[in-house]
Symmetry: C2
Subunit: 121 residues, 2 copies
């Protein structure tokens, strides 16, 4: 996903967290709750998207590959190239489940579901 | 920096931000202010360490390669294998300078100063 010149842009994690996320139809479907990082390597495992829930009770989160988030300056949020149905059918996790098996279960399921080539191979 | 089995651990960016940082002598030398991410690729560019300053005025930040941060559960913070002198002499930046040239200037200077092999080659 780097540009032809190998150029990349920088974004601070604190600016990513809290940003709205829209689906391909332009509906706001959630918010970036967090970004999961590898502790002992240099990769971004996935973005954590929250879809609501009352005061965090029973809230479920989706793990979405970082590469599919496309920032739209007009909306001031990220657009993911998925429909509402695709997102609703995606694997979801409690906050604890996201880091179960060191995050690899959610990461692997997410990359498989959204059909994104693993960055770790 | 992965383990022999290719295994890695997950850590949420929100948990990293605000964590104390200690030098090799065990002195607390700052706090993780942020984590700089690549927008269009999958890498963690560097950790942003703040060293104080009054109400953020004139505060300078260091860009430190993610790989050199070693979490010490006893201290509840990250230990970097550098002396106080090494850290004081390291390149430092205002918050705006950190993302100048899309973060690549701070990233490249940081990896060179701390002698860490670039992850992006």
């Amino acid at each position: 996903m780097t540009t032809r010149t190998g150029h990349t842009d920088a974004i601070a994690a604190s600016r990513v967290i809290g940003t709205d996320v829209y689906n391909s139809a332009g509906d706001q479907i959630g918010t970036i709750e967090d970004v999961m990082l590898e502790k002992t390597s240099n990769g971004i495992m996935f973005a954590v998207i929250g879809f609501g829930g009352f005061l965090g009770l029973g809230e479920k989160y989706h793990a979405v590959p970082w590469a599919v988030l496309d920032y739209d300056p007009d909306r001031g949020g990220y657009v993911v190239p998925f429909t509402k149905d695709q997102l609703q059918a995606a694997p979801s996790y409690s906050i604890n489940e996201l880091t179960a098996d060191d995050g690899q279960r959610a990461r692997d399921a997410s990359f498989a579901y959204y059909n994104v080539a693993p960055y770790w191979h």
